[in-house]
Every structure is written in structure tokens, then in C-alpha cells.
């Protein structure tokens, strides 16, 4: 299907602007309504605050994953459906290491190695929180990043590299295959049971330390990536490659090395996201990443593919949407709101809400 030109035609009309205006109007109405609810006291400030905070926390880990997805999308030119399972890989590998380290002398090897697949070694008993086992938690994060990167590189070598010249749809289909194989390979080892692996978060003075760890880690990782891309040639060569791969090759950009770097960053962030999500939620499951994937796609598309700041901004929109929408709609509809927003944006601003914003 080549609808590129139809899109071009569409972009000539003012439909875009019209829908944009309607969208803005809608947002304005909702904002006014929000004020009304606050004034009438139907919605307490505290509740609004907790929605917003939850939205920010959600958007941070969605954002971590979205940066990686956006980068691989723009540089390798395909929608990577296995990205969610990289997140899951990070969660399992990282927490396995955390358990292995933190559970020494407390729990038996099999519970630690397989993250309680047998139901033993409950997290409280092992002391899985940031105060009781800070070293284990940090090592786990490092391991999550490293293992996920290695897995992603191995997959690239075995699968995607062989499909470099194919079109995006072939790669997309292959990535669905990768997603299935990876997820259920994990399931064979860890079983499909959902289970808690993190102890209750210590919260001195009402500050949830696990959530705080998530926020601090996520923000520093994002900052790190920003600096890396801003102050090295890597950022520019990535943009050049996503613009025109053949020409990048001719210009002497070592494309395979850029792809390598893309996987390292993208998968590393995905792994970290997976690990941090579990730190916050407490439970790990085989479907962790897969269920998040569509939300991450929504964030990437909202922000505009290829733009890192777009991905972060898109994640904020998604995170806030799924939480703040609870003011008006029941909680089992909140993702419907997020997906609808994604579709509307895709149709009327195919380049994303934040297109035009410069990327590193």
C-alpha cells in the first residue's frame, strides 16, 4: 500500500487544522470542567494530585521504553513488536540477579534462580527493598540493562540483520515472531505465573522510596541519553541514518555500528524500564511488556517517530491521559481513551503531535 501521496493530498487540506482545533477545544472544555470539579469540590485537590503523580510515574517508564522503540523504529525502519518483550527480559533478568545477590543465605538456589517459580522465598523474607538490599537492587538494574542489550544484539544478529534490505512489513512480522519466541522462552524457564518479587516499599515520611528510585533512575537515564546524543557524533549519525540509510553508507557513516549503538541504547533503556516497572508495581509477569507495547507505540506515535524528546512528551501525554481520564470515565475505559487519542493523532498528524521539535 502506498498511500504516501494520499497523505500528501490530505496535508493540503485544512482537515488537519480543523481536527486540531476540535481537539484543542475538547481539551479546553475538559480543562474548564476540571476547574469546575475542583471548585465544587467534586474532585479533591489531593485526588487530582495523585492522578497527576501516577500519570508522571507511568509516563516515565513508558518514556524509557518509548525512546528505545522510537530509535529502532526510525533507524531500522520497522515497528518492532518485540520491544515489549525486551522490557520483560529486563524485568526477569534484573530481578533474578537481585534475588541471587540479595537472597544469599536466605533462600534456596532454585527459588532465587527462577524468581520464585516454585512459590518459595517470598520477597519480604528475602528483604527485597531498596533499604534492606541496596546493593542487590542496583546490581539488578545493571544486570537488567546488560542482559537485555545482549539479548537484543543476539536477536539482531540472528534475525533482523538478515532482513536489512526487506521492507518494514517483513521486519514487523518477523518481530512478532521474535516477540512470541522470546516471551515464551522466558515462560519455559520462569513459568507463566505472575508473582511478587519486591518487598513492600519503605516509605519514610510518606515518600515511597521505590517510586522515588524509579523517578530518579528514569530521569537520569533520559538525561544521560540526551547528553550522549547531544555531545557525540552518534546523535547526528543516527539522524542521518534515519533520514537516508543508503546515503549514510556512502557518506562513510558506519551504519552497522550505528545500528549496534541503537540496539544498545534502545534495549538498555527497555531493560531498565522493565526492571523499574517491577520495582514500582512489585509483581513480575511474562506479559509485562507485551501488554504495555501498544501504549508505548501510542506514545512514540504521538511524539513523532525518531524524536527522543517527542517520545518523552508523547509518554507524558499518554501517562497523564490514562490517569487523568479517570476523572470522567470509568477505570476500565482509560486505555480506550489513550488508544483513541493515538488513532486520532495518527490520522490527522501522522508525523506526531510534536513533530518539528528538534531531536538531539
Amino acid at each position: 500500500m502506498s498511500t504516501g501521496n494520499v497523505r500528501g493530498r490530505l496535508s493540503d487540506t485544512t482537515a488537519q487544522e480543523m481536527v486540531g482545533a476540535v481537539l484543542l477545544l475538547g481539551i479546553a472544555v475538559l480543562a474548564l470542567d476540571l476547574v469546575r470539579l475542583l471548585v465544587t469540590g467534586e474532585l479533591s485537590i489531593a485526588r487530582l494530585g495523585s492522578y497527576l503523580w501516577a500519570g508522571i510515574v507511568d509516563s516515565l517508564y513508558i518514556g524509557l521504553a518509548a525512546i528505545g522503540l522510537s530509535m529502532t523504529y526510525s533507524i531500522l525502519r520497522f515497528a518492532n513488536f518485540s520491544h515489549g518483550d525486551l522490557i520483560t527480559t529486563g524485568a526477569f533478568s534484573g530481578w533474578t540477579v537481585a534475588y541471587l545477590v540479595g537472597g544469599i543465605g536466605v533462600a534456596d538456589l532454585s527459588s532465587r534462580l527462577l524468581l520464585r517459580a516454585n512459590g518459595g522465598a517470598q520477597p519480604g523474607a528475602v528483604g527485597m527493598d531498596v533499604l534492606a538490599a541496596p546493593l542487590a537492587i542496583v546490581l539488578g538494574l545493571v544486570a537488567a540493562v546488560i542482559v537485555t542489550v545482549l539479548v537484543a544484539l543476539a536477536i539482531d544478529r540472528l534475525v533482523y540483520r538478515k532482513l536489512r534490505d526487506e521492507d518494514g512489513i517483513a521486519l514487523l512480522i518477523a518481530s512478532v515472531g521474535v516477540a512470541l519466541a522470546l516471551r515464551y522462552l522466558l515462560a519455559v524457564f520462569y513459568t507463566t505465573d505472575t508473582r511478587g518479587v519486591v518487598a513492600q516499599a519503605p516509605s519514610p515520611g510518606g515518600v515511597d522510596l521505590h517510586q522515588l528510585t524509579l523517578v530518579v533512575s528514569a530521569v537520569s537515564l533520559m538525561l544521560g541519553i540526551h547528553l550522549l546524543l547531544q555531545y557525540t557524533k552518534l546523535g547526528k549519525s543516527m539522524r542521518a541514518m534515519s533520514d537516508n540509510k543508503d546515503l549514510a553508507l556512502i557518506t562513510g557513516i558506519p551504519t552497522e555500528r550505528v545500528i549496534f549503538a541503537t540496539w544498545v541504547i534502545g534495549a538498555g533503556l527497555a531493560g531498565a524500564a522493565g526492571y523499574l516497572i517491577v520495582l514500582d508495581r512489585g509483581q513480575v509477569s511474562i506479559n509485562l511488556g507485551w501488554f504495555l507495547l501498544l501504549l508505548i507505540f501510542a506514545a512514540v506515535i504521538l511524539g513523532g517517530i525518531g524524536s527522543i524528546y517527542g517520545a518523552i512528551a508523547g509518554s507524558l501525554v499518554i501517562g497523564i491521559t490514562i490517569n487523568l481520564s479517570l476523572v470522567w470515565i470509568p477505570s476500565d475505559m482509560n486505555e480506550i481513551a489513550a488508544f483513541t487519542l493515538m488513532i486520532v493523532v495518527l490520522i490527522f498528524r501522522p508525523d506526531g503531535l510534536f513533530s518539528g521539535v528538534e531531536t538531539a
Binding site: T3, L10, T191, L294
Partner: protein
Amino acid sequence: MTALEERLSDRVSELGLPQWAVDLLLIGGVVLATYALFIVIGIVFGVSTNLIVGQLQQITFFAAVYALAALALNLHWGYTGLFNIGVAGFMAVGAYTMGMLTAAPDGSPPGLGLPLIVGVVGGMIAASLVGFVAALPALRVRADYFAIVTLGLSEIIRRALLSRSLQEFEIAGYALGTGGGSGIRAPSTDVVADYLLYVGADRTGDPTTLGAVLFESAELLGIQPSIIRNGVYTLILIAFVVAFYVLLTRIAYSPFGRILKAIREDELAARSLGKDTNRTKIKVFMLGCALMGLAGILWQGSRTQISPNSFMPIVTFYIFVALIVGGSGSNTGSIVGGFAFAAFLYQGPRFLRTIVRALVDVRAPPTIYDAFVPLASGDPLPLLGYAIGSLDEIRYIFIGLVLIVLMIRRPDGLLGHRKEIAAATDLSRRPAATNGGETDE
């Protein structure tokens, strides 16, 4: 497998038969060879006739279901290039509409209590209408965005069906509902089998002549009546597969089909030749969605309960595997792919599990650790037990690997790339009046 089918198709094409006959032979050959394989395996391992026949019935049922869906998807993706990965959503619309129209008015959730046929037709219409609504905007975006839009749409549909907000509602004084997470209970489509088998479709009553013959011969072979009943319904599904096939093949070999291909290849060029591609795309999208809805009805509707989680995105990917295995763009391929998927990827592993469970009496150890530890002391049984216990997971891995290997080695599917020429007449015939020469280069 690949080599086998290839050789088969070569051999068959040597006979110089018309295309449809070749295709029929091909499908028949593959099906019979697979049946034979399963029967041999069954006999070798001493499986009872009842179980073998039961397995073949199950395989055929799923083969038919996946063939139906793959054929519909082939119309979208194979012919028109519309990369629709929201198939499960359209199936859900079909099945749910049928459920809501036919469920008893005093049920929970209540339905309209209309006859089954109204439900089936209504379901198809609803699926195509949702297709229409989706098509209007979705057709304007790029192929990979289109994929994400359709996937998002199918999730929106599924979540809406799950939501308690629609669990029960009222329209124009009629109470209706989706039943939320519990789903909807409605008459199942497989009652049509009862009409053939029992007098007055009353299962506790007397069988019809056909029913009597079937049940008696089944009794002789030691086959459960439930298998016969399911078998008859499976035959009805096969009739639908044939109908889909004829319909889609007619479309494929026509000027309409030619426009579809042209849209797939280069839409702007087609428009510039005066083809109203938007209308055509909407039409074919709606038609495909209606067929998907029907496939959903025939499949999920054959259960008394339709629940939202039967329409997870994985279902769409199953259908994609079936289509890709057979080779997208080919209707014959869709059927062969549906069958191969059902036989080897979907049901086959379960058959193996049944056999292994019967042969070796092992309990699956709770974790793979407990399976490996005894291995160190030379006892492989726990590991085998674990593998059998994790068969569902292993099957998913296998499906994933098949997809990957197909994309790398045979992106055109097992049947290879079959570029069927879209025309309602034989193109190799050249007008006699012209200076002619050879038709072939």
C-alpha cells in the same frame, strides 16, 4: 514439509489441468497426507480410534476456522495490501453482535432473542459497518501506521466489550448487553448440526436417518457421539470455506481484483488511471470485515459463551501465521496455510502431549530447576515431564520461530510466490488479426 509440498505442487502442475483442479488436488493432497501421518503416529503408539478420530476432527475444525479467517485476511493484505492486524476485533464484532441479537431476553446479559440466522447476518453487517467506520480514516495512513491503527482498534473493541459500562444497557426499550468480563451466552451456531442429526434438533430425542447411520457406525468403531456431532459441524464449516474460496477466487480473477492488486502496488498510479481507489478500498475492506465477522461467528459462536478474551491480539497473529505459511496473495495458499497451521502448530503438539502422557507416567515437576536436578543423576523423565507440561509455551516458541524462519527464508510462503493473474479471461491468447508471432518471449 516444504520440500514435500513443493514436489507435490510440481507433480500436480505437470498434469496440465485447469488451475482450480490443480489447487483442489494440492489442498486434498496436503490434507490427506497429514491425516495419514497422524493416523500412522496414532497407530504406532497404540492410540484408540476414538482419540485419533477426535484429533482429526479437532484439527479439521481449526483448519477450517483459520482458513476462513486467512481467506478474509488475504483479501485485505494479500490482494489489496491493507495490513490489517485487527482481525480479532472484527471477529469479535461479528460474534458479539450475533450473541446480542440471539441471546435470550431474560438472560444475563439479556439479548433480543432473535433467530440464529438473523444473528449471523446481523453480525456480518455489524462487522462490515465497523470496518466502514474504521476504513474511512484508517485508509489514509501509511502501511505500518495502518497496522497499529487496526491493532489499536481491535484492542479498543475488546476493552469496550470487557468494560462494565456496556455490560448491560438499553436501546429503545430493549435491554441488551455485552456481559463484560463474563461474556454473553447465546445459542451456539453448532445447533445446525443438530438439525441434521436429530429429529426436531432435539438432542435428547431420536436421531434422524442420517444421525442414526452415523451414530451407529460410530458406536461400532468406538467413537464418541460428541465427535460425530462436532464432525458434522466441521463439515458445515468446510462448506463455508468452499464458499469463501469461490467468492474470493472470482474476485481475484476479475477486473475488480485487478484494481485491488493495483492499489497494493501503487495507489496513486491507479488513481491517475481513473480508478476510484478509495471507494474500492472501502468496499473491499468492508467485505473482508464481514467475512472476518462471519469467521468469528462460526468459530466463537459455536460455543455457548462468547467472551472478550477469546479475541486477544494473538488470535490475529495466528491468522497471520496461517496466511504467511500458505503464502499471502494466494487463496489456495490461505487454505493450505490454515490447515498446516492447525495441524502442525496448533493442534498437533496437543496430540503429541496426549500420546506422551499415555506412554510415560510422569508428573511435571513444578519448575525447570526441579527438572534439571534429576537429570544430573541420570533421570531424564522429569525433564520430559516438564517439557510436556510446558507444551503450550513451547508451542508458542515454535510458532514464533516459524514466523521468523519464514520471513528470512521463504517470505512468499510454502507454496512459493503464486502471482495469480487478475483477469477474467485467458491472457495468453493473442488476437489472431495482428501480426502475432509467439505469445511467449
